[in-house]
Symmetry: D2
Subunit: 285 residues, 4 copies
């Protein structure tokens, strides 16, 4: 059986900590109890930290505000690395002009607008503008009519050979203790199979997420990957991605992975975290 260790004893060995958001810092009930301690401790000990999240539904500003509302005042927009930021970087580099069509809420469209591009929700594509559409981005599972717009997207991609960017690779996310919701990554994968084209996927476990975070860290001074710790609740995204990028990893039990299933999951997937902790909470003083 697996013996979890104290998170504090681990965090002390690293200079920079990457945290997954959902299932580590917060869950459907709100803040994971005690996480305020963790961020206080990191601040006091001048450790750098980033929140690395497969979330393109809201801007880094909005994501940071959601943490502040939970009592984590120290979390500012510059601490957030979201898969939406990679989509934005792609668009800046590879889509010089024209319209970027999107699936998602108006909030999620801000990533595209911040790249200086004109945005258009898929529902507004028509014969008058379809030839100006130069990219399609899957941002969020909400904000559109699934039946109408998923069908519309299939036909858009059959008519225009444009890049399709998936800004969140997750297949599902938890709604409450009992229910999950289909995430935009699953919708995008379905469309990818229907049209038979290769989409551009951004999000953990893909290393481009970790590279983006690593570049921010390095901008502040030289650092080795050995000094960075990735903390996550999901073997297939946080731990697999962190391991592949060369980081040490901690699996916590405050989200997707249950203590009683951990050993079986680790053995059957071959995805082995460096450490296992109950939670990412730094306890007591």
């Amino acid at each position: 059986m697996i013996n979890p260790v104290e998170f504090k004893s681990i965090v002390d060995r690293y200079k920079v900590i990457f945290f997954d958001s959902f299932g580590v810092i917060k869950n459907y009930k709100g803040l994971v109890p005690g996480m305020k301690n963790t961020f206080d401790y990191l601040e006091e000990n001048q450790k750098e930290y980033y929140i690395v999240t497969n979330d393109a539904s809201r801007s880094p500003q909005q994501l940071a505000e959601s943490f502040v509302k939970l009592g984590l005042d120290m979390i500012t927009a510059d601490k957030i690395i979201s898969s939406g930021m990679l989509a934005k970087e792609y668009l800046e580099l590879k889509v010089p002009d024209g319209i970027v069509a999107y699936m998602g809420t108006d909030d999620s469209a801000h990533y595209i607008e911040s790249a200086g591009l004109r945005t258009l929700p898929v529902k507004a594509i028509d014969d008058s503008n379809i030839n100006e559409v130069n990219a399609l981005v899957f941002m969020d599972d909400e904000g559109f009519n699934w039946f109408r717009d998923l069908n519309k997207v299939v036909n858009l991609l059959r008519k225009r050979n444009i890049p399709a960017i998936v800004a969140n690779t997750d297949f599902a996310y938890p709604l409450n203790m009992h229910d999950v919701a289909i995430a935009v990554g699953a919708l995008a994968n379905m469309i990818e199979h229907v049209v038979g084209k290769k989409f551009i996927h951004f999000g953990k476990p893909d290393s481009q997420m970790f590279m983006f975070a690593y570049d921010l860290v390095r901008a502040k001074g030289p650092i080795s990957k050995k000094d960075i710790l990735m903390v996550g609740d999901t073997l297939h995204t946080d731990i697999l991605g962190g391991n592949k990028f060369g980081l040490d990893t901690v699996l916590v039990f405050s989200g997707n992975t249950q203590p009683e299933d951990a050993e079986t999951s680790i053995t059957s997937t071959g995805i082995v975290p460096t450490y296992i902790c109950e939670t990412a909470v730094v306890c007591g003083k």
Copy 2:
């Protein structure tokens, strides 16, 4: 280059003909011109024929009526073999009681009702009846709210370990000359990946479709598979499935496959029809 041959010269060599429906007999414009001749010829020459279709949206009666409306009076319900009939057989054999939840129109639910089971559209599942739901069937892409009911289905399958049956394996179907629509097979595949469970899929190229048709033919007297010809417009369903079942196959150009792409498609997929014809039309006298 491929030289198509006359359909009549081929059909004369077989006793029984299996036809795909969409892309062979009819398309989005209506009847494929000349197909009335083909069925007249089959009747005159006392050849048996069946329409083998990945369609669970309507009953065999309704499907037959749709052919009669196009002028093919000879096509009766007993000539139709649909993937919905396999779903029905599965339910009869494997689901003794309780409720069968379905995704699809009311028309598609008739298959389940004809198996003597109580049906419930997914939208009507609630705490009062979820424990009586003993199977879920994906029948059709219409008749439900995609956002609400696809999410509901994911949570149903997480709470109840019941069989999920997919009554149409297609990923898309043509709407008109320019557009396609996402078929229920693609929706079901997405859900299968989200929940990580194995669904039961019925439809070409799976051999169970051909077996069902073959059993009907054999019920009328002994026949060899060598005397049966499968006619289809799609390499991955009609031709692959027909070949695997041991039938000779004809690829026609009245649907999914274009003459100019045929050679490339056949070479790159390795799916080789026994014959190639422009259409399944028996010409002139």
Copy 3:
């Protein structure tokens, strides 16, 4: 927790029993203790039985002899249904002439020879005969040099657009208590991905295996699928395939599935056997 039931109490309700071979009747140590009782009981009670196995390495005669050597004198070649027999039927129906190249031992080539076709081990293909090769069959993982012949097969399939038949869909098989071996199904899948063509796969869980067995049963008189029981040790082949074909199924713990993992496996895969028994042994009198 799952409570296994007595196999005898179940077998009494059915007229025909299909058994998987490895993991049910025998394992790497020899006969599963007590299985002689089971077959004596079936004979005494005039129940029909068949052994339905993903094995194309030896002929039905040789497979039957291997059971006789273990003390099961009643098992004759006509009781054996192997995936090799489906490959043979395919070749008889679809490959009228020419050479059939094969990967496997000389024993496995007997299936092809019994279809009246000329066989050639892949190693013997050269410029003088490559144009006569009209099909390729993957029979067994032994009997050839993997490096030389797997590479040779890739190039054969790039030069000749011929059907590739996989006569055993298994990915691995047990060698002894500690070790497994890669089965020919895994080798064939690798080649299928390398060349990008669709192969024809025969073996459980595909329904064509069950149909072949069902046809033999029906040849002796009318029978409903409700009177047939499939007994297997593997959820993904025996149970999934039996369920899909409409048969009742028993999962036994004498092979691939361990009692302590059964509930987790059934829940996570959604593959639910009708019954669970410790073994397929009919005990006592």
Copy 4:
């Protein structure tokens, strides 16, 4: 139809050029005619260049020497970025001690040795050392007995829950004008499916390859991704990977992609290069 443009007109717009090796600089016949001109031109114009290759069979030194032998004296080891170097970095970061088992030639093992780790060919694993094996690396398709060692690797990974690293994601490589060979990426994928565990794959199109090269470029001074051009012959590796990383890309016809198939391939895959050139040759003066 696609109109290729002159490579020189494109190369002039970028500061750094990444080249794929096989199919761009050389092929089975030797140097692509004229490529000496290209590298002379890059040197004269002080453009930086790197060779980014899915090859772990030889060290950067050996790879560089192979270019020198073809007359490209300017190509030194520091110009080579191979997927083997990523495997080496992974081992340095994540495998602190013990033995690293490998599949490949002795040459390929040098990558592991250069990480300061003890290496062991898979054939030499036995009961005395298996518990010290802390990682497995797939380096090359040559240098081992496929039947013996692929089976051995399956059982190693069932007994020891260690990371399996794939240092070359390719499925096949060309041997001569007519034949290809199975690459180690295909063998590793087969084993991954047989054992059901997640392997760590390094090589194009994965962005970690491009990041490694980009880090080398940035070490010499600040540069934007907009100033880097990726040149390749394969849509699914060079072009897809380059695009995703945010680079402009050139597809050339000196390797995997034929001019007559380019348009169809680009349309059907949705992988669109920024430019298309006949070859990467800078002509004339």
